[in-house]
Amino acid sequence: MASAILSLTSASIATSRPLLDNLKVNSKFGSSSQTTFLGKDYIKTKSFTRTNMTVAVEVSRFNDITMAPPDPILGVSEAFKADDHEMKLNLGVGAYRTEDLQPYVLNVVKKAENLMLERGDNKEYLPIEGLAAFNKVTAELLFGADNAVIQEQRVATVQGLSGTGSLRLAAALIERYFPGSKVLISSPTWGNHKNIFNDAGVPWSEYRYYDPKTVGLDFDGMIADIKAAPEGTFVLLHGCAHNPTGIDPTPEQWERIADVIQEKSHIPFFDVAYQGFASGSLDKDASSVRLFAARGMELLIAQSYSKNLGLYAERIGAINVVCSSSEVAKRVKSQLKRIARPMYSNPPIHGARIVANVVGNSDLFNEWKEEMELMAGRIMSVRKKLYDSLSAKDNSGKDWSFILKQIGMFSFTGLNKAQTENMTSKWHVYMTKDGRISLAGLSSAKCEYLADAIIDSFHNVS
């Protein structure tokens, strides 16, 4: 099994120490025994009524395990918490904050939860594929309810554990049914993508994406690399609001990307974590996915409701596989279920119900759209403020307009590792080492401070 092979080659194999051979084990019932090893008494005995508890080994079986490094993204928040400095700023993880830098639970979510409680819904197991009502609305939200793929029932939709879990189901499907096929991921991409494919046993390589010279999209490089990949490669695309760069292809560029993917019979694999959150419009943010679907292509799409519905901790998302026929979609869905069952049996119900209630109720849905526009709006205004502060304070003539051109929660500042370390050590601004800042964690009030920090790090640190 691929996963087993991967485990054996990637893990530092803790081979059994000779200690076990040297142990003298006396398991005689009712007697106490002692043997020395390295000068220590290591057979413990304890009297418990007439039973002696003897333990065979002193040293842990897990003794050779090394301490793993903290997660590069989630570890940032941990470091931030440990810092007492009054000006500290957490621009690490992509979680939305209000202007007061508080976490935000959407009003529609609170309303939905109250509705659910009033109804007294039970807590029975969901089917392996998740809540049917959720699966229906999530696919409709992505494609539009009147889209051909929905009408023709060509989408296999399975509820997953937010974006990560949905990506993992898809990766496992690729490993099982497309053995040897690679996934092409953008350079850079969300830090966890490679971990997901590694653990699923799917090989990956990168396509050029970010151009540090322009702080924009290396479109020619992207096209060239997608073209150069062996036919039938899975191409991982960010539906909107590319993470970490915030740089999205234009509609014309999307068409060209679709052309190349079709030419090479590649399979598009979308990661849609920000639908509605990027531009403020659910439909606009889904246009790249819909463009591909409209061409009759088969594609995979992982969805997350962490950001756009603020349901981070509820772990709600879905994997959608658009197939050429409804019959194929049924088969694909059944195999996705076979992957989910030995992983967690069936997905959690709470977040799914919230989404189904919000999206399925026209009043709540409209309210949601308004709240989403507010959230996206705040981020856009903070971008503008940061840009204005940088332009006003920086005398070097550097063009900071990339901040305005980028979209979504994140901005790729172009700061290198040493410079980002300066941001943290000198300015107590927490961000990821790739130079990514989460604008969702920035308030208007702190824009000037951040501008100072960026200018200092950029010009005075190399």
């Binding site: 996963s3 050779d64 023709e152 554990l161 990560t164 966890n192 772990r315 195999q335 049996s345 119900i349």
Partner: protein, 483 residues
């Protein structure tokens, strides 16, 4: 059986991809200017494109198959192994129009009225959570809700006398336990198994025969190889203790052994305290690594401590073990997917390193666990009054099941049904392994509209005082009329 592995077909992967691609290329225009849907899939005719997923077969466990099954003659049904899947049983049950039908395949608690139950204390906890305006939905840490982890560990490892979680296991006091929130029992087993496959020197796990249907797949996909040890003795409808000891004795040193902490699923047969002690000694003498599956703490006997005793026995001797905990049944939180994996290590330092590696398993699987169910559990466990209420509601569920056992036993005795039915009251937990064979099971379905898995397992939770007589009649008829 791991299930159909499609990748092991006759052609090589490259060949299959190539032929899929050839079909692709022949199927549509290469003209990049042509944006229209070439060979529209809607046509459904010869012009339709072949799917890249064409080689994906339908999985056999799909519940839709259950519908097909009900149209097959029963004699054929009986021979099909997938009638042993509860979900298939339920689908067949749903299609049955008889008012007397009884679903004893369900693995979830039902009230005397046959309804699902949400515990009052759970409702109250939920109300508190929803009403608390200071609560947010920020990502949990990768290892989950800290309070929940601490309280779950205390619940299972506890102390010799659990008086509202007073007194703590030395293992916890010494910080030798790492506990991570996972997706109920399944998720805890999977994360633990993945960890062992990467970091433990022995990659074989021994599971009892029989065991919960999903165990083999969970361990297999995690990268462990699965062997079995004898467990159930059909002759006595009890434990094959000698067989168990023999098989564990011949296991290689250091092998992992799966143990059901209480209320063995599917048999309901548990070792006695004395037998547990012998198992413990044998395992420790061979450095076999215990991996407990604790899905019924408090639900089996009605007593949280008694149901945890097997685990605590192992922890008391200072050795290492893994425990997968589920709150699906004992808190009725099935769909919320709440559970925890605890790894009891020799030292605090090892526990810290182990925890860091568990995070590397979890992050690429689902990043961090869901908050809702864990918050409910945490709310209840940390409040003295709510905890007490919980123990009362839990005992009520366990007592109802025990009462069903007694009623069924009495009903069979009253009818003079041939055979020794005492196993019904000796077995413990939600399930009873009746000892009925698959022909008898099929007969009961056909003639009495009673649905159970073909291995003869019935869920006592699906019974009520009202329906016990019907079941007893059915068993009586099956035993006297079908071989």
């Amino acid at each position: 059986m791991h299930g159909v592995n499609v990748s092991q077909s006759s052609s090589s992967p490259a060949d299959r991809r190539l032929s899929a691609l050839v079909r692709h290329l022949e199927g549509h225009s290469m003209d990049s200017a042509n944006h229209s849907i070439a060979a529209a899939p809607t046509s459904g005719s010869t012009g339709a494109r072949i799917s890249v997923f064409d080689h994906v077969v339908r999985a056999p466990e799909d519940p839709i198959l259950g519908v097909i099954l009900t149209h097959l003659p029963c004699s054929l049904c009986v021979r099909l192994s997938f009638l042993n899947f509860p979900v298939v049983v339920t689908v067949a049950y749903n299609k049955d129009p008889s008012p007397a039908k009884l679903n004893l395949g369900v693995g979830a608690y039902r009230t005397e009225e046959g309804k699902p139950l949400v515990l009052n204390v759970v409702r109250r906890a939920e109300q508190m959570l929803v009403n608390d305006s200071s609560r947010v939905k920020e990502y949990l840490p990768i290892v989950g809700l800290a309070d929940f982890n601490k309280l779950s560990a205390k619940l299972i490892l506890g102390a010799d006398r659990l008086v509202y979680l007073h007194g703590t296991s030395p293992a916890i006091q010494e910080n030798r336990v790492t506990t991570v929130q996972c997706l109920s029992g399944t998720g805890s087993l999977r994360v633990g198994a993945e960890f062992l496959a990467r970091h433990y020197h022995q990659h074989t796990i021994y599971i009892p025969l029989p065991t919960w249907g999903n165990h083999t797949k969970v361990f297999g996909l995690a990268g462990l190889s699965v062997k079995t040890y004898r467990y159930y003795d059909p002759a006595t409808r009890g434990l094959n203790f000698e067989g168990l000891l023999e098989d564990l004795r011949s296991a290689p040193s250091g092998a992992i052994v799966l143990l059901h902490a209480c209320a063995h699923n599917p048999t309901g047969v548990d070792p006695t305290t004395h037998q547990w002690e012998q198992i413990r000694q044998l395992m420790r003498s061979k450095a076999l690594l215990p991996f407990f599956d604790s899905a019924y703490q408090g639900f089996a006997s009605g007593n949280l401590d008694a149901d945890a005793e097997s685990v605590r026995m192992f922890v008391r001797d200072g050795g290492e073990c893994l425990v997968a905990q589920s709150f699906a049944k004992n808190m009725g939180l099935y769909g919320e997917r709440v559970g925890a994996l605890s790894i009891v290590c020799r030292t605090a330092d090892v526990a810290g390193r182990v925890e860091s590696q568990l995070k590397l398993v979890i992050r690429p699987m689902y990043s961090n666990p869901p908050i809702h169910g864990a918050s409910i559990v945490s709310t209840i466990l940390k409040d003295r009054t709510m905890f007490q209420e919980w123990t009362i509601e839990l005992k009520a569920m366990a007592d109802r099941i025990i009462s069903m056992r007694q009623q069924l036993f009495d009903a069979l005795r009253g009818r003079g049904t041939p055979g020794d039915w005492s196993h019904i009251i000796k077995q413990i937990g939600m399930f009873t392994f009746t000892g009925l064979n698959s022909e008898q099971v099929a007969f009961m379905r056909k003639e009495y509209h009673i649905y159970m898995t073909s291995d003869g397992r019935i869920s006592m939770a699906g019974l009520s005082s009202r329906t016990v007589p019907h079941l007893a009649d059915a068993i009586h008829a099956a035993v006297t009329r079908v071989a």
